[in-house]
Symmetry: C2
């Protein structure tokens, strides 16, 4: 499978690999660790939210539970607690009325694209490689995607060039999707200066920034950088959040936060949120109030912040990253200059660059013959620039398995490096 093939096939490929080689060590999926899952305890926080909801609506607790069992408000019922949590944990100041709670962040992405993209001239901009959950949705809707295939520090320059080109073709750059903190798949981080410059440029060009931040709370070193939403004075950033990584994926609770004044206009914010709310009501009615109440109860039990809850995971991920970096160093140092990798300051992923192509065929051979699963970066890419790279996820695998898995990957690479170049680069 190449960058040119359908995003929609990538997930299947991955699932097939996992299914066919269940004993392979997987660096493929970016699932959170299960080490600190406590679903029974979390579900037991439901009554805490029910009491909060009862008090807020002047209901008895019994009546509140009945209301919570029903259909509910399209935009959600834990908007107040989400506003408080992103305030405490991400430095984001927003009112509850700026929030729409969604069935996972994936629904937020779908809703934003559907509401923002109106004309065939509208183009979505992404960094390439990009998360498949954004390019896949765009493909599904026939939205043209322009990829910025560049180092993270060059994003603005490439954005400028792409916008100029698109405008020249009579197209409208409508939105820019970014994961500023610990990008999926690369692990890269946008500097504060880059964030500010991108906001200024996007605001000038009326491009809405979709800031997806699933990994922001997973920083292992260095100083945190404020989310673009928090830096945005122009009202051009929509913030996309999720509890899949901080709590767990099974709840399917995410959210979108809209600027108070989109492009300087409160009416524009209202119009966009109204449209999204209308679409959501026809897509999933409302986000499960059971899931929302569990998240809400947990937030209440943690005094509004998830910092304490993720402490253990942060330590575990840091240790996993360090283990992987050490293993990479040990396994690949002999090819210094030909094989390289990055040292992400957070998140779930790092990128390994090889001197030969690592595409679907190589991934399959790796899984079949060496018992290790990794994602070709070409799966995420919009061009051939990433054909030599792979994504290694270190979030849901033990240090022992990391050691064993990188060793296996080393043996695969060893064999490939010993193969004549014309075959290896095939």
């Amino acid at each position: 499978m190449q960058g040119s093939s359908s995003r929609l096939d990538v997930m299947n490929f991955l699932n097939e690999m996992s299914g066919n080689f269940p004993n392979a060590i997987s660096f493929a999926s970016g699932r959170p660790t299960e080490q600190f899952f406590a679903l029974a305890h979390w579900m037991a926080q439901f009554p805490l939210f029910a009491r909060h909801f009862a008090a807020a609506h002047s209901l008895s607790e019994e009546a509140a539970v009945n209301v919570l069992s029903q259909y509910g408000r399209t935009n959600g019922i834990i908007d107040d607690l989400i506003a408080a949590q992103v305030g405490l944990d991400e430095g984001i100041a927003c009112g509850r009325e700026q929030i729409i709670v969604t069935a996972g962040c994936q629904e937020a992405i779908e809703l934003c694209l559907r509401a923002l993209f109106e004309s065939e001239r509208d183009v979505l901009l992404v960094r390439s490689p990009a998360y498949i959950g954004i390019t896949g949705v765009a493909e599904l809707h026939g939205i043209e995607v322009a990829g910025l295939s560049c180092a993270v520090d060059d994003t603005l320059a490439f954005l400028r060039a792409a916008v100029e080109r698109l405008e020249g073709e009579g197209k409208r750059p409508r939105a820019l999707y970014l994961v500023p903190d610990f990008d999926n798949p690369t692990g890269a981080v946008l500097s504060r200066a880059a964030r500010l410059e991108l906001i200024a440029f996007c605001s000038e060009k009326s491009i809405t920034v979709l800031e997806d931040n699933p990994y922001g709370m997973f920083r292992y070193e260095g100083e945190p950088i404020a989310p673009m939403f928090a830096l945005d004075q122009a009202g051009c950033v929509v913030y996309l959040g999720t509890y899949s990584k901080t709590i767990c994926p099974a709840l399917r609770v995410g959210f979108a936060i809209f600027p108070k004044q989109l492009g300087g206009s409160a009416e524009r914010t209202q119009a966009l949120m109204h449209k999204i709310s209308q679409i959501k009501s026809l897509l999933t009615c409302n986000t499960s109030q059971v899931s929302q109440a569990i998240v809400g109860g947990l937030l209440l039990s943690e005094n509004g912040s998830l910092k304490r809850l993720v402490e253990g995971s942060v330590d575990l991920y840091r240790h996993n990253r360090d283990t992987m970096l050490a293993c990479l160093e040990e396994t690949f140092k002999k090819w210094e200059g030909r094989i390289s990798w990055n040292r992400p300051q957070g998140g779930f992923f790092l990128t390994l660059s090889l001197p030969f192509k690592f595409l679907g065929g190589e991934a399959a051979s790796c899984a079949r013959d060496y018992g290790v699963l990794a994602m070709p970066l070409s799966f995420f890419a919009l061009d051939e620039e990433q054909d030599y790279c792979l994504r290694l996820a270190f979030s849901n695998v033990t240090p022992e398995r990391i050691e064993e898995g990188i060793g296996r990957l080393g043996r695969f690479v060893e064999q490939r490096m010993a193969t004549p170049a014309e075959r290896a680069a095939d």
Copy 2:
């Protein structure tokens, strides 16, 4: 608001009315009764499903709970229990591999329309008036909808005529949406003969029937009629189900069941399910495994059937229906021949026909001046045929409130009947 205006505004209208007149007696929303909600007890069935899941996957219970807390299979994890439940409760024979679990039935509708409608020539057929959740989704996707505006017994004749007309225009009738049991909004039931004839015709014309059956388990009198899915030998019916009415809406668990051989071809079924699964993975990833596990646990605790669970609700709804029918009789008998209503054998709704138009303005005046909320049938209609009718929901209101509410409606009608015709028909 007229049949010609946007479906997307109807929900807002309803919410606004409820918000502005919170003390009005509402016959507007078709919510299930809260009388038998037992969410805490239902949530407590989670471990029962975890054990079931653990056994099925040879996992420890702890490991099973961790897997359940993660991202999961796109098509869902309670497909086996759903297959058993529809077998026991609806007489539907199907394998688990025919099922996709969705975030409420609304997502199933969205997914089916998105997967089935490929060309601008494709037309969706519905009975008019129709559930807004189908016509709204169609509108959102720019899918042309053709309404069969006829008595339930004339559905086939009107379908034939519509198909002939559409084919003449070079269009392709792609799917027919039906609620055969206790239709929303009319409460009408398709006879067994009509179901068989419709299946034969649709199969011949390669029209996929979308059979939506939220109310099938709520029959208050008369003999049950097999669902179209169970009668279908040709593989043309997709069955849409939900646990929002039998358990509760807050879980957001619904499902679609596909025929073994769509149009006689197992490959066609696989292709459709694969496409829907792809779209779902980009829309909501997978249905909340917490919600699925709660539904699953409850199904296990009830030995697979929901019949016992809905017994209380069935009795309550029957009593509510009877109370409403008695009140209508008492209030409106003096206008016999000019005002009429139906006697639904099940479901949540009945239809009242007036000698004057009952549109958005009348609904607003009813709510504001008489403290009673009802849904104009024109909101659901594709033409002006329903302008004189309203939908009365009796599912989530007490008998006392029904008496008071129909009395209020009677006073509204009384005043209108005393008004000169030209004003009343305005």
